[in-house]
Amino acid sequence: MIKVKQLCKAFDGLQVLKNISMEINKSEVVVLIGASGSGKSTLLRCLNFLEIKDSGEIEISGQVIDTKKTNLNKVREDMGMVFQHFNLFPHMTVLANVIEAPIHIKKKSKQTAIDQAMDILQKVGLADKAHHYPEQLSGGQKQRVAIARALAMEPAVMLFDEPTSALDPELVGEVLETMKNLAREGMTMVIVTHEMGFAREVADRVIMLADGNIIEDGHPSVFFTDPKEERTRRFLQQVL
């Protein structure tokens, strides 16, 4: 599904990603962990080209993406992204948030888009909030709308950047539940999170990032109980 080879990315001299290589298979749920500033967000944002890599190769669904020649908008249509701070469009209702891209990008008729949006909102448990404005929702509800908005484009992959980090503790569960359902349906997911319980339960693989390198990559049963690297061990001690 996604193949990354020797990906490098620097910000004004600061080498954030150093030779990252990894592969994400279809229907796989991969959790990305690492200390703050280790480059998790940057890696995720390189995958949908919100950040443009300096060097290396990114292959998506069998197509090597040339950032100069490929239409990146088309690539992004196929990759949903969920942000830490939701980034819902505040001037639009929940429903309008969800149908915006399907109508303007996929050129769906308004009625088709609305019908599909309502189905997805139903799935994330927010059909009754369709005509509310984002401001009227709790953090957990906002994030579920953000997930619905991304799903409405029928993406092949979903990227999550700390989707629960901005939430009050009692609201984390409902968002994780929504994500679990997605995983169960076979969605390919790359998730940056500090929710280790969730990772243990849902992830097929956990990847540990440190200083711009992947230092550990394994099944959660091994990763959490018997990590190979001393740095992983120390990091897990801190967060568990």
Partner: protein, 240 residues
């Protein structure tokens, strides 16, 4: 006492002409501000384009307009424009005023666009929306709302600045005052009366803008729609 009777007599002799001239002032202001809004929007886009040449072009334009007294620009542009194109004094004056206000409005729009959270553009782009569509559908509606108070202020300045075209023979309000006081030898009283006309115009402008602001105010807007939302669920969607 003497002055007051003089003012009343000025009202009686010139009141109607002043009213007609007021109409010209309003038309001049409206046309010049329309031009200024278009110029302002274009140069604001230049400023946020990240394209060096366009940014410098916008900087230069804003520098020139801000760096010279309006009356100098007016004369310069008026003679410049009328030497190339055959235009009425009104049109030439409106264009000159528009070019002047445009620089300030460009700065207002630029500030408003840049004040919108980066996450909004990123969310739109992550859905596959191209830059221009994201601007039009997501950023500008929010920026516009935020720009309204400053725009109102700039519109009032534009209204008052329009008095300077009296010196390029447009017979608007101030031009009438100039000729009236030359006839009646009562400059103090004449300018006082004309001042009242301007005050009333500005008052009307202010009231209109206050209404627009109240209408756009997110929380108030929602309350109004709130009553309809549950029984006429579709209204919010239809406005999308």
């Amino acid at each position: 006492m003497n002055s007051i009777t003089s003012m009343i007599s000025i009202f009686q002799t010139h009141g109607f002409e002043f009213l007609k001239a007021t109409l010209t002032t309003v038309q001049l202001t409206a046309v010049s501000l329309l031009i200024a809004m278009i110029i302002g929007l274009v140069f604001a886009f230049f400023k946020v384009s990240n394209i060096f040449v366009l940014e410098k072009l916008a900087d230069t334009y804003i520098f020139l307009v801000r760096g010279m007294p309006l009356i100098v620009q007016l004369m310069f542009l008026y003679y410049g424009i009328s030497s190339v194109f055959v235009l009425s004094d009104f049109t030439a004056g409106a264009i000159a005023l528009g070019i002047h206000s445009g620089a300030y409005i460009a700065e207002i729009f630029r500030g408003a666009i840049q004040s919108i959270d980066r996450g909004q553009m990123e969310a739109a782009r992550s859905l596959g929306m191209p830059y221009s569509l994201s601007m039009r559908r997501i950023i500008l509606p929010q920026a516009f709302k935020r720009a309204v108070p400053s725009l109102g202020n700039q519109f009032i300045i534009g209204l008052k600045d329009s008095s300077l075209v009296a010196y390029i023979a447009v017979t608007e309000l101030f031009n009438h005052a100039l000729s009236a006081q030359a006839e009646n030898y009562m400059p103090f009283e004449t300018y006082f009366v004309v001042g009242i006309y301007y005050l009333i115009l500005v008052l009307i402008f202010t009231l209109i803008f206050n209404r627009i602001e109240a209408r756009l105010d997110v929380s108030k807007g929602r309350k109004r729609r709130g009553g309809k939302r549950f029984d006429q669920g579709k209204t919010a969607v239809q406005s999308v």
